[in-house]
Amino acid sequence: MRQIEGVMYQTNAPKGVDPDNIFFVQVDATKCETCGECEEVCPTGVIQSINDAGIRAVVDPAGCVNCGQCLAHCPYGAIYEGVSYVDEIFEKLKDPDTIVVSMPAPAVRYGLGECFGTPTGTYVGGQMHAALRRLGFDYIWDNEFTADVTIMEEGTELIKRVKNHGKPGAYPLPQFTSCCPGWVKFAETFYPDLLPNMSTCKSPIGMLGPLAKTYGAKQTHTKAKKIYTVSIMPCIAKKYEGLRPELADSGFRDIDATINTRELAYMIKTAGIDFNSLPSEQPDPILGESTGAATIFGNSGGVMEAALRLAYEVLSGKKLADPNILAVRTHEGINTADVAVPGFGTVKVAVASGLDNAAKLCDEVRAGKSPYHFIEIMTCPGGCVNGGGQPLDPELRASLFKSTVARINSRFRARNTRA
């Protein structure tokens, strides 16, 4: 075990194992103070008392969507991560025969700075790219590029579903987004009958892995088998996604390692890089360039807004003058909007933040009563910026008094959100 940015990690870099059997988060029974906070925030209820004293544990990985919200809210640091590729990545970075590719998600650049003392939410994208270069990554590619590709694929898919609606054999409406790995596992586990509604698109990281080892290899004249891809995420559930056996479409494992924002900060500190004095640098071209539509993937409602910026123009044939689609921006709860598209009609959309809200929309779809075309779901309240792999809220563990206040507040919020 090792401590990384206030969280304990098991050094464990699984290969070729069934991720369904891994505890990506688990409670250290010797540290659990039985406060119940984890149970309060867990969307599935799989973290619960295992004895009369009230010690909690994740009772079975089958019911866990690996969101890490329990870990991010435990005031006592009792919850640890079960998977960390940090050591393996350091080895690969040293190996002259391995071409190591960085693939950071949008939300990482809005959290990473906090580990180096910047105010909450400071954008540090340029320094992040510089730090990755200093760490020795051979290609500074970026998951935001494939967020843009996701919009092309998922937007096109949606337009197809709308056009073919009602025809025999057509994929059903509404279409659910498939970017959030906690949500995807949730749907597979608790709403398997709705899987045809799931977009067939891989998530942005699911797309960047295979593109790096095919298109990227070709463009850079690199042997694909030498490429080692590192997914850098604000998320714990992405570690599960990276291990999905079906994600091997490049002819190799598409994603070789997955770490989160906290672990990247740890790597930068361990390498002795002075993050705050780094210049702002650009990612490498081909698989690095991105847009504002890609960066908003980090927020709840962001995928929806980015998709609408495409759908509007494709369906109407007109330019969308103002790309801000404020109606779908979601802080908490469920947001719905009717978007009028000239020459097409109304696109009905919904955005759910948190899986208890997602379940409400799923129940509507199940009952055949869902009026929507497109539904975005994020497991973590607020979206990836609040992911379970992001730097912790510094207030949470500041003192017992403060953490008690934080706990009361979060319960208060949880009730408000649910109501």
């Binding site: 209820g45 009230g54 939410g121 891989k202 479409d249 208890d356 706990r407």
Partner: protein, 112 residues
């Protein structure tokens, strides 16, 4: 011992709750805690709208996206949802309900 500690923590929580309530600060404290996420969200939207950070705001206008989907020379020459896209960029899902059904059969309660 553990029960005592648990009771103590509970009492702590209740007392703090009253202290906070009596100062009529619950709302304010809740707002400031939620801000932690809200501030990060705002920073994301600010970057999207800042031409110094993101010159382009629509995915379809990304020059590298145009390059990869170029109908003549692009790697994904047959466009979004084309053959190579389906092979590399699309996937399928697995019904994972059986294991959770088994868990419930053992007597564990879940939220769904």
């Amino acid at each position: 011992m553990i029960m005592n500690r648990r009771a103590f923590i509970k009492a702590c929580g209740i007392m703090t709750g009253y202290a906070v309530l009596s100062l009529n600060m619950v709302k304010e404290a809740a707002a400031s805690a939620m801000d932690f996420v809200g501030i990060r969200q705002k920073s994301v939207y600010d970057a999207d709208a800042n031409p110094k950070i993101y010159k382009i705001r629509k995915s379809q206008d990304n020059p590298m996206v145009k390059k990869i989907y170029d109908p003549k020379t692009g790697y994904l020459v047959d466009g979004p949802c084309g053959n190579l896209s389906y092979h590399l960029l699309h996937t399928h899902y697995v019904d994972r309900s059986a294991k959770v059904a088994a868990l419930k059969a053992k007597g564990f309660k879940l939220n769904f």
